[in-house]
């Protein structure tokens, strides 16, 4: 089984303060200086794929690929993925002039083209959210472009005994769904129950990973003309920080007991009654 995990790295948003969210006239936010981290859903997807490939009964027959559309800053992460035993690390570089933030159609075109034309994988894992646009659509669109079935909000996947099927667990509104499914398949990964974080490589594995080459592809390598990436079903016309409606009243007091008393008597006692 050949597995590809499509992932994205993001600025570590919780590090930013109110003053850092400055939008320029071109609707851009300068986050180049901020530490990058794995998108949390993609990180879970990357670990799930490793468990499926390496810990399952068909470990020798599995091949794992980590794929990202990004600039060279992602190479650090791709080498890290080599260190945790990914077989291939691939980056699609579209250049600075292509804005993919709010264009999941173009992102899905790039990913599906790689899978169809070069990778030849039968199983795609992708985080349910990711990217600055928070579009939440890329996994669904990859499935549509490939003509494959798709399961959303996946929280676990394990091989079935028959080895030709997977047992996929996904979350529904107020319920958990378990499905036995055949390949090919796109899995959109949600809040994973077990092992949401990527495993940690040994020092030896890290050093070995650093020596490996990331395969860098351009859209042209995927037979995609630049015009095909600029087409979009939507146009960004504004980007702004929302104003907060509430004015927070800070409770004063000598100690926690005083503050708790004020909170209860002035604000909660009546409200707790309903």
């Amino acid at each position: 089984m050949k597995i590809v995990v499509c992932f994205k790295t993001l600025a570590d948003y919780p590090m930013l303060t109110e003053r850092d969210w400055r939008v320029d006239e071109q609707h851009q936010v300068d986050l180049a200086w901020v530490r990058q981290v794995y998108n949390c859903y993609d990180e879970s997807a990357l670990e799930l794929a490793l468990q499926l490939a390496h810990d399952g009964p068909d470990a020798a027959a599995c091949e794992t690929t980590a794929l990202s559309i990004d600039d060279s800053r992602a190479d650090l992460f791709l080498r890290h993925l080599y260190a945790v035993q990914y077989d291939r690390a691939v980056r699609i570089d579209c250049g600075e002039e292509v804005d993919l933030r709010f264009n999941p159609l173009a992102v899905s075109l790039l990913l599906a083209s790689y899978i169809r034309e070069i990778g030849g994988q039968q199983l795609v894992l992708i985080g349910s959210e990711g990217g600055m646009g928070d579009n939440r659509q890329t996994g669904f669109l990859v499935a549509e472009r490939l003509g494959w079935p798709c399961i959303r909000e996946v929280i676990d996947v394990v091989p079935e005994e028959s080895r030709e099927c997977l047992c996929v667990t996904s979350r529904r509104e107020g319920a958990v769904l378990t499905q036995t499914v055949g390949l090919p398949l796109v899995l959109v990964i949600g809040n994973v129950l077990r092992s949401p974080y990527l495993r940690v490589p040994t020092l030896k594995e890290k050093l070995a990973g650093k020596k490996k080459q990331v395969l860098v592809l351009s859209p042209t390598d995927l037979a995609i003309a630049p015009d095909n990436l600029s087409g979009n079903d939507r146009t960004l016309v504004g980007l702004f920080r929302q104003r907060q409606d509430r004015q927070c009243v800070m409770l004063a007091g000598e100690n926690a007991r005083e503050k708790a008393k004020t909170l209860y008597h002035q604000y909660l006692a009546e409200r707790l009654k309903g």
């Binding site: 969210w21 600055m132 659509q137 669109l141 107020g174 378990t178 146009t235 980007l239 926690a256 007991r257």
Partner: protein
């Protein structure tokens, strides 16, 4: 402009309707007709929501496999080829988001998810939706018809009223799709998730709780307050709390009567989960924490010290009230 709302009878259709109703406020004046397309599995619902806008038709669409979006998409494609709507509105849940995206792709239209606001600008549709981890809002113009929108989750809010006027129900019979890749399936209800979603009082705990043991202490506080406990993503990822307690853009979006956010820094994705609370208390040792930006009342202090004191006060007050009530009953006897 012709629009249809795609709803599914397996979930609470009155709550779905309330969310969709809020989205209609923008384009309402431009709608020539509004339909409801109601997906159901075995039995159509007896009640339907009473919308603020008149419905031209309610079309009942039976699907054999409601948990398989491919089967639902097949049905929606067929009805859209007959009805040719300009705009299709979908619910906020995962199914609504998936159907919205995939149907727009198949129809050559535009789509957007987690839509907070829909506007008509110069005869085109624009939407506002959170981006950059809910730290910014984007206004996006949709370029292609049909415009497919999935509304942002609002929390339980107020459901629309129900009506039994089913006189203009129309059942649409469509051939089902053969699904050969799905070999078996089973579904299990998750009780914990439902309890938090419906809670009137919520204790939302963040990374400041520091351990699973402390989380158990927070559960005692929550029980005394009559609250359901929820958690931020770092707490859940550290296995200090169950995943079905996750609050945030990818977990529960809540609108309780009271929310106490303790030890939460206030990352954008978490704030999105509690900002609709009717009264919000924030407790954090860092006075610069972003959570205070959306709170009604803030306390800069150790969360354990404040909450244990609060628990003690509430416990004493409850005991006093119980004693008074018992005395009154005795006097009445």
């Amino acid at each position: 402009m012709k629009a249809a709302m795609v709803m599914h009878a397996d979930a609470d259709i009155l709550l779905q309707a309330a969310e969709l109703n809020s989205l209609l406020a923008g384009p309402a004046d431009h709608l020539d007709s509004l339909e409801m397309w109601l997906l159901y599995h075995e039995k159509p619902p007896e009640n339907i929501p009473r919308f603020a806008y008149p419905l031209a038709a309610i079309r009942l669409l039976q699907v054999d496999a409601p948990d398989v979006p491919e089967a639902v998409l097949h049905v929606l494609q067929q009805i859209q080829s007959n009805r040719k709507m300009d705009m299709l509105l979908f619910c906020s849940d995962g199914l609504g988001q998936e159907l919205c995206t995939r149907l727009a792709y198949r129809l050559g239209g535009s789509s957007a998810l987690t839509v907070e606001r829909c506007l008509v600008v110069d005869a085109t549709i624009a939407v506002e939706r959170p981006v950059y981890g809910n730290n910014l809002m984007a206004r996006i113009r949709l370029e292609l018809r049909p415009y497919c929108l999935s509304v942002a989750k609002k929390g339980k809010g107020s459901p629309l009223e129900a009506t039994r006027d089913t006189a203009f129900f129309e059942t649409v019979n469509l051939p089902p799709l053969q699904i050969d890749w799905l070999k078996a399936w089973a579904i299990e209800v998750d009780e914990g998730e439902s309890a938090l979603a419906a809670a009137e009082i919520v204790l939302a705990v963040g990374n400041g709780v520091q351990s699973r043991e402390n989380m158990q202490k927070m559960q005692v506080v929550a029980d005394t307050l009559g609250a359901e406990i929820g958690a931020s993503r770092p707490v859940v990822m550290s296995a200090w709390s169950d995943m079905n307690r996750l609050i945030g853009m990818s977990g529960h979006i809540l609108s309780p009567r009271i929310c106490i956010a303790a030890g939460v820094s206030g990352a954008g994705v978490f704030r999105g989960g509690i900002r609709n609370s009717r009264f919000l208390v924030a407790i954090n040792t860092d006075k610069q924490a972003a959570i205070f930006e959306i709170a009604d009342v803030g306390i800069v202090d150790d969360l354990f010290a404040v909450l244990f004191e609060l628990e003690s006060i509430v416990r004493k007050a409850t005991a006093q009230n119980d004693a008074v009530a018992a005395q009154e009953r005795q006097n009445g006897d």
